[in-house]
């Protein structure tokens, strides 16, 4: 079976995506995985627009509403002991109802804690990270590539993370 990328997309967005021409920059970056995942400490990140309600500000969807061709490039840090009721989501391009009810569909904190108990992986980093996937029209990921991506990578390294699960929304 081959996954159909366009199955759930409205026609207009499908048409736009299909028109976009892009080639990967080669070589594709590659870090070989450690010899066994049972010795791996994992980090988690998503582009679902999640944040710690009452602690951090939401992503700037106020500016996006005023300036629809712009998307907030910053990121938020969440702790793995966050309670579901403290999870906020600011993302104008998806329905946030389900992730507000269960964070694990985008940041699988509890599933990874279970994997640690099972011994499938060694550990889960204390902090997980969220970006907000909409980066403007046309999409501009310069700030992610030059500033915020490397910053998050450094924070993962500071926690001695080996492997990262990336979950776009």
């Amino acid at each position: 079976m081959s996954v159909d990328s366009f199955k759930y997309l409205p026609r207009l967005i499908s048409a736009y995506y299909r028109m976009t021409e892009r080639q990967p920059e080669l070589p594709i970056p590659w870090t070989p995985r450690p010899s066994s995942l049972s010795e791996c400490k994992f980090g988690l990140m998503t582009s679902g627009g999640l944040y710690h309600k009452g602690v951090d500000p939401p992503f700037d969807i106020v500016r996006e509403r005023q300036e629809p061709t712009w998307g907030d490039p910053t990121y938020r840090t969440l702790s793995t002991d966050i309670q579901q009721k403290d999870v906020g989501v600011s993302h104008l391009h998806i329905n946030t109802r389900d992730v507000l009810s269960d964070i694990n569909i985008l940041l699988p904190i509890h599933r990874f804690q279970e994997l640690v108990v099972e011994g499938r992986i060694a550990d889960l980093a204390q902090n997980v990270y969220s970006f907000m996937g909409y980066q403007g029209y046309p999409s501009d990921t310069t700030a992610w590539q030059e500033t915020y991506g490397p910053e998050v990578a450094e924070k993962f390294k500071a926690e001695e993370v080996d492997c990262v699960l990336i979950v776009p929304a």
Partner: protein
């Protein structure tokens, strides 16, 4: 991330982009947007997807590898297609709609000319 010495695995519903961007390792799932790892509170389904992702991380040996999951979304297509979308269309839709439609029209025009369109009947 990989440049910084981290091994990554991405789970996405858009292998189309994973291929174009050059994602190191990808598990593709045919799930509605915003639900990359499954349905809320469906722990068994979430764990199946995560185990598949870890298997890809373990087995992939070529940069750019994409593995397609056989997981099936348990809700009817029509319902699932509607329920992942925001209640109000995102602000960019109003801006991009006329532009995209214009490009489609232009392409159709040039295609029909190329195929010998514009024939007039006397």
């Amino acid at each position: 991330m990989e440049v910084a010495g981290l091994s990554t695995i991405m789970v996405t519903m858009m292998p189309f982009w994973a291929e174009k961007v050059g994602v190191p390792r990808t598990l593709a799932v045919e799930f509605p947007f915003g639900h990359t790892l499954g349905q809320p509170h469906n722990q068994v389904q979430q764990m199946r997807v995560i185990h598949q992702a870890l298997d890809v991380l373990e087995s992939a040996d070529t940069p750019g590898e994409i593995v397609h999951s056989t997981e099936i979304w348990p809700e009817p297509l029509k319902e699932a297609k509607k329920s992942w979308q925001p209640e109000d269309p995102s602000p960019i839709i109003e801006v991009m709609a006329p532009q995209v439609l214009e490009v489609i029209r232009q392409r159709r025009r040039s295609k029909s000319q190329h195929l010998g369109g514009g024939i007039t009947y006397s």
